[in-house]
Every structure is written in C-alpha cells, then in structure tokens.
C-alpha cells in the first residue's frame, strides 16, 4: 500500500530550485501568506487603474485565480501554474510578474496591469497592434503573456533588436510555434524592420 505522497497544494510551494531556472529571474516574489491574525479584513490593490479589494482570507490565493474568477479578467491565462511558461504574466508596478507565482497578499498595495489593461481590439497597445499586423497568435494560449512581457521590454527599450527580444521572452513558452511572429511583432512595434 502506498500513501499518496502528499503533493504540494500549489506548485509554488515545491522545490524552489526547480522553479527558478526557467523563469529567467523575472517572476515577482511569491511573498509570504499574511498571517491571519494581523491581516486586515481586505486586501487592496489596483487593477488596470481601478481600486479593487479582496478578502484577506484569500491572501494565499495566486493572483491569476482572483483576476480570472473574481474580476472576470480571463485574458490572463493559467498555463503551467509553476512559473515555467509565462502564460499568466501581468505587470506589477510596471514589472512583468507571473501571476501564478504571486499571491494576492504579495500583490496587495500594488498596481496590477493585465492584458486587458494594455489595450482593446478597438484601441490596441502598439505591441498589440503589431501582434495583430503580424497575425501572431495561433491558439493564443501563450499570447497575452508574451504581449505583456513585450510591452515591458518596449517600455525599457523602445527599439529592441531580435536578440534583445529573444532574451526578454526566454522563459515564455509557446507550443504552437508562434515564436517567429512574436519576434517580428516586437521588432515591428519598435519601428524596426521585422526579420
């Protein structure tokens, strides 16, 4: 008889050495769940410019679930839940972070921007416009995370080259093979000739 080796409740509690490598050093700190006794009843944060509140009891909930289930911001996708794929990337105070690795408590007091906060089909962010022009998405599962990461890259570097784009997006996985067009889109958004 074998007892089911108790799996971690969520992968971020798993062996941390395993999850650091593919994340290329950019995830937000997972943070510590807030202690219930000291926690305020509500956690406050800004999402796409609007103030939002979450139950403090949900402090250990990864941000991705709260964004999707409570706020209906389903543009942020859950891929691996392990910090390995980048599908769930959002901006926290302007920095790309993996929302499957960031608890609500860790995001409290900060400004979160999701893919929906960057632009809309009617008024897209310049990188979204470039993704559309390059017809980048296949299934689109990875796309939002790459757009968010790429938008952060463009904010630091208005004209990234192909290798800079590759470096910034390393740690974002795509199974359909849309990479080529993602790189073209980033170059295009920076005003460079896509290659």
């Amino acid at each position: 008889m074998a007892a089911l080796g108790k799996p971690p409740i969520w992968p971020y509690t798993a062996d941390p050495t395993k999850r650091e490598a593919p994340m290329s050093g950019k995830p937000a700190s997972p943070g510590k769940p807030v202690s219930k006794a000291k926690a305020p009843a509500l956690l406050s944060l800004t999402v796409n410019g609007a103030p939002r509140h979450a139950a403090a009891a949900d402090g250990d909930m990864p941000l991705v679930f709260w964004l999707r289930d409570e706020l209906g911001l389903t543009g942020t996708h859950l891929g691996c839940g392990k910090g390995e794929c980048g599908s769930c990337t959002v901006l926290i105070d302007g920095e790309p972070a993996r929302s499957c690795q960031t608890t609500l408590a860790a995001a409290a007091g900060k400004a979160v921007t999701t893919i929906e906060g960057l632009g809309t089909p009617q008024a897209p962010h310049p990188l979204q416009a470039a993704f559309i022009a390059e017809q980048t998405a296949q299934c689109g599962w990875c796309t939002a995370g790459m757009v968010v990461e790429g938008a952060a890259l463009l904010a630091r570097n208005a004209q990234p080259g192909r290798d800079e784009a590759k470096a910034a997006l390393e740690g974002h996985l795509c199974r359909c093979g849309s990479h080529h067009r993602v790189l073209r889109a980033v170059l295009r958004a920076g005003g460079r000739e896509p290659s």
Binding site: I9, A137, Q138, G140, W141, L183
Partner: protein, 725 residues
Amino acid sequence: MTRELSRRAFLGSTAALSVAFTLPRPAGAATAKTNDPAEVDGFLSIGPDGSVTVYCGKVDLGQGLRVAIRQMAAEELGIGIESIVLIEGDTRFTPDQGPTAGSTGVARGGVQIRQAAATARQALIRLAAARLDRSPEDLDLRDGLVAPRDGGRSIGMGDLVGENGFALKLDPKAPLRDPAEYRVVGKPLPRPDVPAKVCGTHAYVHDFKLPGMLHGRVIRPPSVGAALLKVDETSIKAVKGARVVRIKDFLAVVANREWDAIRAAGMLKAIWSDSARLMGHGAVRDALRAGPFIAEEVLKAKGDAAARLAEAPPAVDYYWPVQSHGSLGPSCAVAQVGNGAATIWTASQATHKFRPTFAALLGLAVDKVRLVYLDGSGCYGMNGHDDAAADAALLAKATGKPVRVAWSRDDELGWDPKGPPQLIALRGAMSPMGQLLGWSTEMWLPKATAGLPNVPLLSPEAAGLDQPKGLVTGLIAQNGDPPYAVADLEVKVHWLADAPLRPSNIRAPGKIANVFAVESYFDELCAGIGLDPLVTRLMGLRDLRGVAVLSKAASMMAWAPRPVPNPKGDGSGRGIAYVHYKHSETYVAVAMEVAVDRDTGRIAVKRVTCAHDCGLVINPDALKMQIEGCVLQTLSRTLLEEVTFDTSRVTSTDQSTYPILGFAEVPHMDIELIDRPEQPPMGGGEAAATPVPAALANAVFDAAGIRLRTVPFTPERVKAALRTL
C-alpha cells in the same frame, strides 16, 4: 475586421461568459436545422436579410481554419468573409465531417463546404432566373445579389431562400468558380480571432461559466492502474464548500472556486494500492523488437528486395521515443447533465465522434447528448481535452450541477495520451550513379485497434464504466518508403499488441519518424558513395512537383554541390529533406543550416528554408503560420523531447523534465509557397513537420560527421557520437 463571428449565439440562454461578446443570431430557424452532410442546409443557411451562416464540423484549434473555411464558402457565394457567421463543431448544428485531424480541415472539411456553397449558388441562380425571366447563364451571384452580368434587375439572396432553407441535396457536380476569377480565396486575409486573442478578450472553454457551476479537480492515482483503497473525506474540511466525489477508483473534489478545488485536491488524503504495470522508458526500444506481436504486414513490395540487398551492409535502426502533445494550457471542459440530457462544452477535435462515448458514459440516448466545441489551448492530436470532458461529465452527473474541470500541468504531461514510440530498420543499396537499387524498411509499431471508436478515456476506466478498449495511434505506417525511384522494394511492419503508455494520434502521426528515418538513411547512402544529397534526390524523383519544392528550398539556401561532411570542418553544416505527404498529398522540402558545438554537444539551428506545395492555397498567411508551427514544434520534438516514466508513472511532468523549445533556439525561417490553383487544396498542418528531423540530422552529419538516429538529439547523444569518430 469582421464581426465576432461566432457560435456563441448557440451557447444557450443560461450561458454567461465572463468576457464581453457580441452575439450575432445565426440565420434561419436554428431549432429545425438539419445537420445532414448530404443536404446543403446542413452546411449553410441564409437569413431573410441575406446574412450567411456556415456550419462546419471541423474546428479551429489555432490553425486558421476559421478564416480558410469562410474564404472557401465566401468565394462560391460571391461575398466577403465578414458576412459569414461560422458555427464549429457543435453536434446539434454542424454536420459530422470527421475529426479535425490528419490535416483534413481544408482538404475535406473545406472542400465539402465549398461544394455546398457551389450547390447553393447554382440553386440561387436558377431561382432568380425564373423570377427575373433571364437565362441562368446570364446571371452571377455577387455581393449577396443574383444579378445579370450585363446589368439590370437583381434579387438578394435572402429573398430567394425561404423559411425552409434550400431543401436541396448537395450536388457533388455543381460547378465551382474558375480560380482565375477568385477574389477571396488565395488572399492573406487576417484571421478573425487574432485581435481578441492578442487583447485578452477571446473566450476559451476555460472562461465559460454557467450559473451554479462547480469547479472539479480529479485526483489521478500515484501509479497507473492503482486502486483507491481509502479516502479521508474529512481531510478537506478546511476548504469551505469543497466535497469529495468518488466512483470506484475515480476520485475528485468539487468546490465553488477553482482555487478551492485545487487546494482541496492538494489536501485530500487518499490511500492507493501499489501498481507497477509500466515497463519504464529505458526498456521501450528493446520491447518494440521483442513483441508480443499481433500481425506482420507487408505494406509495399516490388521486385525482390531481399535478393537485391543480399550483399548490402546490415540494416541500421532509427528510433523515435514516446512524446507528449505538451499543450501549453490545461485540458478543460464544462458539462451540464440533467433532465435526461447532457451538454458538454469541450475543446475536442472530434465532438461528433465522441457523442456516443459520452452517451454511454452518462447512460443517455445519443440524441440527448450535445457536444459543443469551444477553443482550448492548442492541441496537435488528441491531448487531454476529451479526458477532461469525461471528468466533467461524470462530476456533473454525480453532483447534479454544471461542473468545469481544468487539469494541472502535471496531469497534462503525465496523463495525456501519448505519441507512440517507433522503431524503424532500414537497409538499402545505391548505384555509384546514385540510383536506388534496393530498399527495405522494417517497422515495429503499436497497432491501432480496428474499429475502436475513440481513445479509451481515463475517468470511465477509473470509475469501472464499460468502454471499448484498445489503442488509437493514427495512420503511423505511412511514408515508410523512399519517394524516389527504386528497383526492388519492401516495406514491412511488425504490429505490436500494446503500447508502453496509452497512445493517441499526435501531429502527422508516425510520418515524422518515418520520414526522419527514410530521408536520413537516403543521405547515409549518398554519403557512402560521395554524392551530393540534393542532386541525388532530384535524379531519383519522378514527380515534378517534388522537383520544384526541393529545388526551391535548396536555392533559398544557395545550395551548391560540395563534399559531405562539410570540408570547412568548423562545425557548420547544412541538410535537406523532402516529403510527398502520405505519397498523395502535400509536397514539402526543408533545408537547414546548423552549427554543432563539439565541446558542449549543442546543436544550434541557424536557419530553415521551406518550400511547400499543397495545391490551391486558400490563405497564404495562415498557411505560412502553420508551416512555421510545424517547423518549430518538430525542432522541439527532435532536439528535446522524450517522455520518461518508471514502472509506475510518467516522470517528465514539467519544463525541466519535458523541456520544449524556447525563444533562444528559434532560427531564422524563410518559407515559399508554390500555389497551384488548378490542383485541389491539401493540408498544411502536418506535412511540413515531417522533413524537419531528417533535414536536421543530415545537417548535423554535414557539420560534424556524426549520424544521429535516435531522438531526441540531446547534447549527451551528440557528444557520445563524437567520441566514436
């Protein structure tokens, strides 16, 4: 841009999606709609306002079918694609056009719909001719109107088709428009779903919500085939609203929120029996040759290969390991069961095919079960989507509530049905002039079970529910022989009774491995004589479309004959490979430039060129996207991927143990399409994957003088091969 053209109008009035949609009402009386593929009304309806709805049994998994199908229908109807609402893969409304598999979306699905639209045009013109008192030859259907070519009174489509639709059999002989007059087909029109995908507003099955819906999480056993001995239901009481559902060895939790279901699944204490029924991945290769076998089949025979090869060097083995679909997002489905009926929202490639399966699973009549396709994370063959749908169906039945199930990453990589392993032994003889004299292919492959309706699903198995058992692998024995002239040939397959892990079809089933072997070995024969592999291929081809793609891919790389391996000796090399897919469909040649680092054993792919001829091109941009995907995904499979498992379970369940290609490894890519409007349109989702591994292996040989015959081409394998030089 188009409207959000969508099947969502059909999702039912209780459906609430958490993202905003516009909900176009499809034309016609939906409740009476036939889905008979013999009827024009099965595929097409035209509303009184001239709006057009197309019903497609094939689905868009990210491959661009959503635009291609519209283009094919729009062309025949003389309208723009933005006028078409497309309903995909809904068993109530769309005809059964077979699963979206085998690269048949356009070639069969689209061609059938094009014929329905051509039949409709013919009928509309006939009806209008009577009303306008003109000869049908004088009339054309353009921009929603039947109008005389020389001007004059016209009639709108909507005025010609009444409440009851066309009531007309699809006419396989209805004339198609002349490709010379095409206005829509052949244009790189943008895919309608891209803006929403890029802006985060595209709705996936994962985003679909029903009132009162629960979130389920299935707890898979720690070992394949383990029995559930004991469950401590109190172990999850800390999670508000969570509860356990157990049906024999099927164990799940349901909760009000996904996070709660995940937490409860993690807390649940269960005791399972030991089970060690797997062979472990290290034993697979030998097991393929050991059997047990259920059949031996000679697929092709010409002349006397055995006699011709009597003096030839011994056969060499090529091996392709077990691989995962590796979909990026979790498999997911939503099910509602009650009042003697069930609806399942699923990212399945085969909603029609699975309908009887779900009927049996739920104890319902087939006509009481409806499967509705909604987008999932891309799949490349049957991944876990259908299993997730079965999970959701069982849980919805057990709880009486709608249930959504989304898998975890570990379950996705651990439990998706896998691409089966393949062992291929090749032996051949080539004349000093480069003619193939004799060739023998011997394959060891798991046999697909005849008549098996679908891949056996996990949860009915665990729950002890009856379902047909066996293996599904796809047509994995095709393209096992060289596409070049050969005097004496034999292709033989030893069919294995079983597979090491539950198999299913995975992109270009079997043909990636077979073309890898055949096109690598062809280079081995060329190298044995000192012939240029491109020139030798061109000499052996009898099909000019093949000659065209090979020449094109090579010229894109400025290929000039020279000795192989590369006399430069700097670790750089080039390779080329070719396929005529299934010997009857798309023609593709892929050439590659690589660099092999002798110290690290790393292979860097620098550049890929591809020339592609799939006959009539419907949408060149969407087609190129598919080819890019074929190339990158197959590079990943060739360089990196092997499912590992011990005797109990799959052990490669994350990016460190089952790595896939990252941005660092993305090469420069150039793709040229050869459009042949006079030829039927063939598939673009699979063929280009098949020459990739051999082009890569041939380039590695050119670069470093080593012949890699076992996938994946890991640095360790490269270094081991270098040591034998």
